[in-house]
């Protein structure tokens, strides 16, 4: 087990290094003086000279990268061109909201997918199966932002049950904040459950054909026990990997949702800074999400042996 963990940890190092190099080089792709790019057009000469010295622009690129990385590892991702605030602080401030929405939605989607997928596979080609597969296929084709708009139109405007636009922080009123989060969470849950359900169904179908399931049934175990204790853990393992990938990919997809529901999360921060050409913030968000993505998938892989003990043997 320990060697599996260490091996998996070692695999993330080259990825994280390359990710850092890519994010570092992104700013250098823009033609012109990197100091001017990072401080914005209106920067004064003293600040420019200071940043040039800080970045070591006269030194070779690898040395510049090392000093940039040292700053980044200490949590110094530079300052926003627009607001002048430290980028790391901005990201952490916004990340909480995004993390809450994504975690609740993915958990709900996973539970829905696990149950619906297993049921559909168990009663393959029945009406239940057709309904589950049909719904999942349709859901897969609906863009999250359109679904969000439709839900807003229905529950926010026509019925007036839920707040339409804006956001109230948890610190001001927890109940109000939760009301604002209902529609974004529901939208994401629906959108993400499609692909997870299909995955769960197809891996359950594979597992249901295996000899040990027939054996468990032949032993006279109740069907419920066979499904829950024998089929579920093995069928869920591939779905879990997909959940990890979904979590990472959602850090991007959330940008669209946060735009629809005007939530001040990390995705919105990234979009706003792209529109404002606030490059230090773009760079910081990119580095942050890539690291979160790699870490989440690391954690998922480390959970894997829990469901499928054969993994550690490899």
């Amino acid at each position: 087990m320990l060697s599996y963990i260490l091996k998996r940890l070692a695999l993330t190092l080259p990825t994280l290094s390359l990710v850092s190099i890519a994010v570092f080089l992104l700013i250098r792709l823009i033609p012109g003086d990197p100091a001017l790019v990072l401080l914005g057009e209106g920067a004064d000469a003293a600040a420019l000279a200071g940043l040039r010295a800080d970045l070591g622009l006269d030194r070779p690129l690898p040395l510049q990268f090392v000093s940039w990385l040292q700053h980044a590892l200490r949590g110094d991702l530079g300052r926003s061109i627009v607001s002048g605030e430290p980028v790391a602080g901005l990201i952490l401030q916004r990340f909480g909201l995004t993390a809450v929405v994504v975690l609740i939605a993915v958990t709900a989607a996973t539970v829905i997918a696990a149950i619906a997928g297993l049921l559909a596979a168990w009663r393959r080609n029945s009406v239940i199966d057709l309904a589950v597969v049909g719904t999942a296929t349709v859901v897969l084709a609906i863009p999250s932002f359109w679904l969000g708009l439709l839900l807003l139109l229905l529950f926010g405007l026509k019925l007036g049950w839920l707040p339409f636009v804006g956001y109230i922080p948890f610190s001001e009123s927890a109940l109000q904040a939760m009301l604002f989060l209902v529609l974004p969470v529901v939208t994401l849950t629906i959108t993400e459950s499609g692909v997870l359900t299909r995955m769960m169904r197809s891996s359950s179908i594979d597992v249901l054909h295996l000899d040990y399931v027939t054996h468990a049934r032949a032993k006279g175990l109740p069907e419920r026990t066979v499904l829950v204790r024998h089929v579920f853990p093995n069928a869920f393992a591939p779905t879990l990997t997909l959940v990890g990938l979904t979590l990472g990919h959602l850090l991007g997809g959330i940008a669209v949702i946060e735009t629809v529901f005007t939530l001040p999360g990390l995705g919105r921060l990234m979009v706003d800074s792209v529109l404002a050409r606030d490059y230090p913030v773009v760079q910081g968000c990119l580095l942050f999400t890539a690291f979160v993505y790699v870490l989440v998938n690391l954690v998922v892989d480390l959970c894997y042996p829990f469901f499928d003990p054969r993994v550690t043997a490899r």
Binding site: V138, P143, W146, V282, T289
Partner: protein, 284 residues
């Protein structure tokens, strides 16, 4: 696990599934292509002509899908939007598949350091959520059709590399490859005559998925305001522009969304049918 599933439950049931996917998918894609085809020669109105006398007109006989805030005909804009979105998605898929297949063949055939380096790079690119990577590249390149295609194909190429590489690895030790080598074929001949044909089926299936993802991402980027710049219509920027008028002009939010969903449904179902047809062991 996949192998075992092979000798159970195919046959009749499989056929029905292919039938249903194709039965719905083909007409949807047919309708899309027909719309684009007609739009090349004729559209009810000029899709970017502003008519301030008739803003936010509800769907009626004169304007089937109504008009937007500038009095532009929504049907004509949707028709032009279809062409723009499909062309961008097609170009993205062509670039990603071409580059990805070449790199994947290289990694799988040469193995060793080339392979390890390429895998490290694909891992790194895959660590960025696709949309964010595209957003960052567009921030650097500026928003235009070309930079959307470049940004999206950069995000999608790694998955092509991985699929092609995995297929090459699974066949490179087989007898017919060995036979080709011992018959004195050059590496290029072995790759083009014997490896490439085996790589094509999974690549074709992946290409349909990529086409769907590319359409979805392009509309998301346009929705965020960093995609195809207005006044050129795409379904994504039409949805984005509809937001202030949602309460009084719901059709503006519904028509472009239906276009995207219908197209994606068609593409996904066609992909499912194609996968079942090319690889009957793997039923979806």
């Amino acid at each position: 696990m996949r192998g075992r599933a092979g000798h159970v439950g195919t046959g009749r049931i499989g056929l029905r599934h292919i039938g249903l996917s194709a039965l719905i998918g083909i007409p949807l894609i047919g309708a899309l292509l027909l719309t684009i085809g007609i739009g090349l020669f004729w559209m009810p109105y000029d899709p970017i002509a502003i008519d301030l006398a008739h803003p936010l007109g509800a769907p009626a006989l004169r304007h089937w899908f109504g008009t937007d805030q500038f009095g532009r005909d929504v049907l004509s804009r949707s028709m032009l939007g279809a062409r723009i979105s499909v062309l961008i998605a097609l170009a993205t898929v062509v670039v990603a598949i071409t580059v990805g297949t070449a790199l994947g063949l290289l990694a799988g055939y040469l193995r060793g350091w080339t392979d390890r380096l390429l895998m490290m790079i694909t891992d790194a690119v895959l660590a960025f959520p696709g949309i964010l990577l595209a957003l960052a590249l567009i921030a650097v390149l500026g928003s235009s059709d070309g930079s959307i295609i470049l940004a999206l194909s950069t995000a999608y190429t790694p998955s092509v590399v991985r699929v092609v590489r995995a297929t090459v690895l699974s066949i490179r030790e087989r007898e017919f490859i060995e036979a080709s080598r011992s018959a004195g074929d050059s590496s290029l001949q072995t790759i083009s005559r014997h490896i490439l044909p085996n790589v094509l089926p999974p690549v074709v299936v992946l290409a349909t998925s990529l086409f769907g993802w590319a359409m979805l991402s392009e509309s998301a980027l346009s929705f965020l305001g960093v995609g195809v710049p207005p006044p050129a219509p795409t379904w994504g920027n039409m949805l984005s522009e509809s937001r202030p008028y949602m309460d009084i002009a719901g059709w503006l939010s519904i028509v472009p969304g239906l276009c995207i969903a219908g197209t994606l449904l068609g593409v996904n179902l066609l992909g499912d049918a194609l996968r079942d047809w090319l690889d009957p062991r793997r039923q979806t």
